[in-house]
């Protein structure tokens, strides 16, 4: 196996981040290379083409489809208002009258003498793309978007729900114990709340009540997560949920202390503006949730060498039973395959567990490097 362990999540006090901000369709870029942008600033705009509303005119008027082009008042490209007369027929010297009115305001997109349909395209809607990250425009992708660059502290979570939010970092709970509801005060409104080892249901409720922008926690119970989003999550593709605040889980499901390094970093950033996104995609092209805090200093820290290679001395998180959630340090990487309790022959690492527990053998696939 070329890669037999999970590369791990990034937790960095200072790194040069580049975020590509791309419109879903071609549009206009509003900023220039080198320009400073705020997180809220609109950097590109597109016109979403209006939806086509169709109406089967032949059926409404009771005529053959082939007659429709001759009956429609106006041609393709002409503007129409909702309710405007689109076509009509009169018969028996005007005694019987049928009419068909436009279902929407827009332009006539097509008129079919084959099917009897007429399509009305609604007006385009503007779509604004924000910078999300305060920084400098490093690159303009003509008609598509920009790349924003910033020196920033960066924390990747393991799972999240909810989309892009912004707010000041506000530390509410301890690293290694569950976050209680009453630990979140009114001052958390609009802020990014940093919790502890588990976001209890009471904490989730309270964060929603005070209007927090986001909540970052070590662990969460699956039952509470489902209650929070209001539906089951079968596959980990998230970010579109209609939730009161964005949730970022840094360690996993159940009660799990936030990794020391992650917690200390977030704690040191209290009061600073953060950009948070809960979007997660655990498929090919993996996307993890993130907390980004742009740093004030203009001097960009040297980009860290993150090779992701497991080596003796690597600090690791154990991510599967029976040591799930424990932290440790790699003390050996035996080359030969080793039989584990399941009777499978796998490549293992020898790990000295932090705290009590001594040294254990763990499949390399069940380790996550802590950067």
């Amino acid at each position: 196996m070329a890669t037999t362990y999970t590369p791990g999540l990034r937790v960095s006090a200072g790194t040069l981040l580049r975020k590509t901000r791309r419109l879903p369709l071609k549009g206009e870029v509003l900023v220039k290379v080198g320009e400073r942008v705020s997180a809220e600033q609109v950097v590109a705009r597109a016109q979403l083409p209006g939806k086509i509303r169709t109406i089967k005119v032949s059926e409404v008027l009771g005529v053959e489809a082939a007659e429709v082009p001759g009956l429609v008042q106006g041609g393709v490209g002409d503007s129409v208002e909702a309710g405007q007369l689109l076509a009509e027929v009169r018969s028996f010297f005007g005694l019987f009258h049928s009419e068909c009115r436009s279902p929407a305001t827009g332009t006539i997109d097509h008129v079919s003498g084959l099917s009897g349909f007429v399509g009305i395209r609604e007006p385009p809607a503007p779509l604004d793309l924000e910078a999300y990250l305060a920084g400098t425009v490093a690159e303009v992708l003509p008609e598509e978007g920009v790349v924003v660059e910033a020196a920033a502290a960066f924390v990747q979570g393991i799972f999240g729900v909810g989309g892009e939010r912004r707010g000041e970092i506000y530390v509410a709970g301890e690293r290694d114990r569950p976050l209680a509801g009453d630990e979140i005060g009114e001052e958390a409104r609009g802020r990014v709340v940093i919790g502890g080892a588990q976001a209890s249901w009471a904490a989730l409720e309270q964060a929603a009540r005070v209007g927090a922008a986001a909540l970052v926690t070590g662990g969460i119970d699956d039952a509470d997560l489902i209650r929070f989003v209001g539906h089951e999550i079968g596959v980990a593709i998230t970010g579109q949920e209609q939730v009161p605040f964005t949730l970022v889980v840094t360690e996993g499901f159940g009660r799990m202390a936030m990794a020391e390094q992650t917690y200390r970093l977030l704690e040191s950033l209290e009061g600073k503006q953060a950009s948070v996104n809960g979007a997660t995609q655990i498929r090919a092209g993996v996307i993890r949730p993130e907390v980004i805090v742009p740093l004030a200093q203009e001097a960009v820290p040297a980009s860290e060498e993150e090779t992701g290679r497991l080596a003796v001395g690597s600090r690791v998180r154990l991510i599967r039973e029976p040591y799930f959630g424990r932290l440790g340090e790699v003390t050996g990487l035996p080359a030969q395959l080793v039989e584990i309790e399941t009777e499978a022959m796998v490549r293992v690492a020898q790990v000295r567990l932090a705290g009590e527990g001594g040294e254990v053998l763990v499949p390399r696939a069940n380790l996550e490097i802590i950067w």
């Binding site: 086509i52 119970d221 079968g234 996993g252 499901f253 090919a284 991510i319 799930f324 309790e341």
Partner: protein, 593 residues
């Protein structure tokens, strides 16, 4: 086509969503054998954006393993020269999410179902099926088409000469939706029209300038006939010309291969059909992956494939919980398993860290329980689609058929089934082959006498594409190096009370009795066989009729012959403690514990 004498070395790769696998096959005397297998992460995404990087890395592993040279200046050396390189290079691919299709037909149970079979058989993932009677109103259909961004659309409906109005309406829906392809903003979405020939011109006029329209023969020219070949060929061709050509690096890869690249499931389907043909019996095959579970079957002359897009062992593991229910997973666990809440959290943690492997026996049992449910559900979906043609007994016009009840019976006959082939990590890499056998038996519940096998290292895709060029070479490697014979399972149909005789097997001068609700196993190795007299319990059926004896040749394998007296359909004890004890006893008897 027989293989030229000059061909000595063949390399084939399968570019999966996450891993690219390369196999090296070489001539040994007058036979071909698997020599080595290498793998590397697939590189269709940033920072590489080029599938060939992963291909070269996987072949680089073959170089390391064999000490030979197959690459030169970032290319595969072909043809072979002075011991370096390969005579043939072939590839399959499911990278980038495979081929995602939307199918549309007039009547859900008829043309839409035929269209679905055509698309699935060509290796596609069907992301939605539109039909005039699908219970949605037009704006909902339009919204749906807009949101899913398929790679390709198959539009069908109506028998030749029938009414055209519903087809024109479907074409209007597509025009209104103005669908955009998933990959590559700059190319036109391919739409294959395979419906009533009378509507061709009208459909072409409506869709003109909006999509790239390709017209092929009707998939249902008459109610009595399904004609999927031309549509499937068009799907294969467009997959290469349009979809694959948009994927990063595929233009280069297509220039390297000695034959067209195939979609992975289409290649596996080729192998399953070849196995059924060569062995002259019905075959059911399952490939349980991380994200999806594919089921293939050949019963009689009919091949079917279905893909359960969100049933799998890693990315989709929690969706199995959602679809099957947690209790249905827990029922396969002996005593000592985690409580319900912890089990949910544990499976969630597998979902977010999908590459981890079970380290404890308890965790292994949990994964194998999930696999049973994923395969059980995938088979249910397969049975629903692998049916005879509906609507053949009456001749009505298409317009009259909305009220017609389905008449198609499932083709999947577990008593007639001759061979079950299991593939995918949880089966191929089960620490004991006995566990793979029990997962297949519990999930599929074969009846009568059925042979079991697993794909040793998942090389059916590569052998499938090889079979397109040189079927005899593919067949040699398939039999000798790909399939691991597990043995057989003998299971009577019907229910038997606990303690009463469910099955007796007389063979080699020995009689083995299996009481109801229990399992026994006869050790019988690979290549060994036994002539046996099989006696079902009272009222039970082994394929010869209720209570009737059967003479059969029992074939051995790495597991042997599992005698399953638990009855069909399989019912588990209601009481939790009794069920847990039964599970442990079954696993022990089968050698899986």
């Amino acid at each position: 086509m027989s293989i030229p004498e000059s061909v000595h070395t063949i390399i084939a790769t399968d570019c999966g969503s996450t891993t690219t696998k390369a196999i090296l096959i070489e001539r040994e005397g007058d036979q071909f054998r698997l020599v080595a297998r290498g793998e590397a992460p697939t590189t269709v995404e940033a920072p590489f954006d080029d599938v060939t990087v992963g291909v070269l890395n996987a072949i680089g592993e073959l170089e390391e393993l064999t000490g030979r040279s197959f690459l030169e200046e970032g290319r595969i050396i072909t043809p072979r020269r002075e011991g370096a390189g390969t005579d043939l290079y072939l590839s399959t691919s499911s990278a980038g999410g495979g081929l995602q299709m939307l199918v549309a037909g007039v009547v859900r149970n008829m043309t839409a179902e035929s269209a679905q079979r055509a698309a699935l058989g060509a290796g596609a993932i069907v992301i939605d099926v539109l039909s005039v009677d699908d219970g949605r109103v037009d704006y909902q259909r339009v919204e749906r088409i807009r949101s899913i961004r398929p790679d390709m659309i198959l539009l069908s409906g109506g028998t030749d000469g029938g009414t055209t109005s519903h087809l024109l309406d479907l074409a209007e829906l597509l025009r209104a939706a103005d669908p955009k392809p998933r990959l590559g903003a700059g190319y036109e979405l391919p739409v294959i029209y395979a419906g009533n020939r009378e509507a061709r011109e009208g459909v072409a006029e409506i869709l003109s300038g909006r999509v790239r329209l390709i017209t092929v023969d009707n998939i249902r020219p008459t109610l009595e006939r399904e004609h999927l070949g031309p549509a499937r060929e068009a799907i294969h061709r467009l997959f290469l010309e349009h979809v694959m050509a948009q994927a990063p690096g595929y233009g280069k890869l297509m220039g390297w291969t000695s034959a067209p690249i195939m979609s992975t499931p289409a290649a596996v389907g080729e192998m399953v059909q070849a196995a059924a043909r060569d062995e002259g019996r019905s075959v059911l095959a399952v490939d349980i992956g991380g994200a999806t579970t594919d089921v293939f079957s050949v019963f009689g002359e009919t091949f079917n494939r279905t893909v359960s897009a969100n049933l799998g062992m890693s990315y989709s593991v929690f969706n199995v919980v959602v679809e099957a229910g947690l209790e249905n997973i827990r029922r396969w666990l002996p005593a000592g398993g985690p409580p319900a809440g912890e089990l949910r959290d544990r499976l969630r943690n597998k979902m977010i860290r999908p590459t981890t492997v079970p380290q404890t026996r308890e965790d292994l049992l949990v994964e194998q329980a999930v696999a049973r449910e994923a395969m059980r559900l995938a088979l249910i979906q397969h049975r629903q689609l692998a049916v005879g043609l509906r609507g053949v007994q009456t001749t009505r016009s298409v317009g009259d058929m909305f009220t017609q009840e389905g008449t198609g019976a499932s083709l999947v006959d577990m008593m007639a089934l001759g061979l079950v082939i299991g593939s995918g990590g949880v089966l191929s890499h089960a620490p004991r082959r006995h566990q793979a056998a029990m997962m297949l038996v519990d999930a599929f519940q074969p009846q009568g006498v059925t042979e079991l096998a697993v794909d040793s290292i998942f090389m059916m895709p590569q052998l499938g594409v090889l079979a397109q060029e040189y079927p005899e070479v593919s067949a040699q490697v398939f039999r000798r190096d790909c399939l691991v014979p597990l043995g057989m399972v003998v299971a009577p149909l019907g229910q038997c009370r606990e303690g009463e005789l469910a099955l007796a097997v007389e063979a080699g001068g020995k009689r083995t009795e299996v009481p109801g609700g229990q399992i026994r196993r006869i050790e019988l190795g690979v290549g060994e066989s036994l002539e046996a007299r099989l006696v079902p319990g009272r009222g039970l059926d082994l394929g010869a009729g209720r209570g009737k004896e059967l003479n059969a040749t029992l074939k051995g394998g790495v597991v042997g012959v599992i005698l399953d007296g638990r009855g069909r359909p399989l019912t588990l004890p209601r009481d939790e403690a009794a069920r847990q004890a039964a599970m442990e006893s079954w696993l022990r008897e089968a050698g899986a514990w």
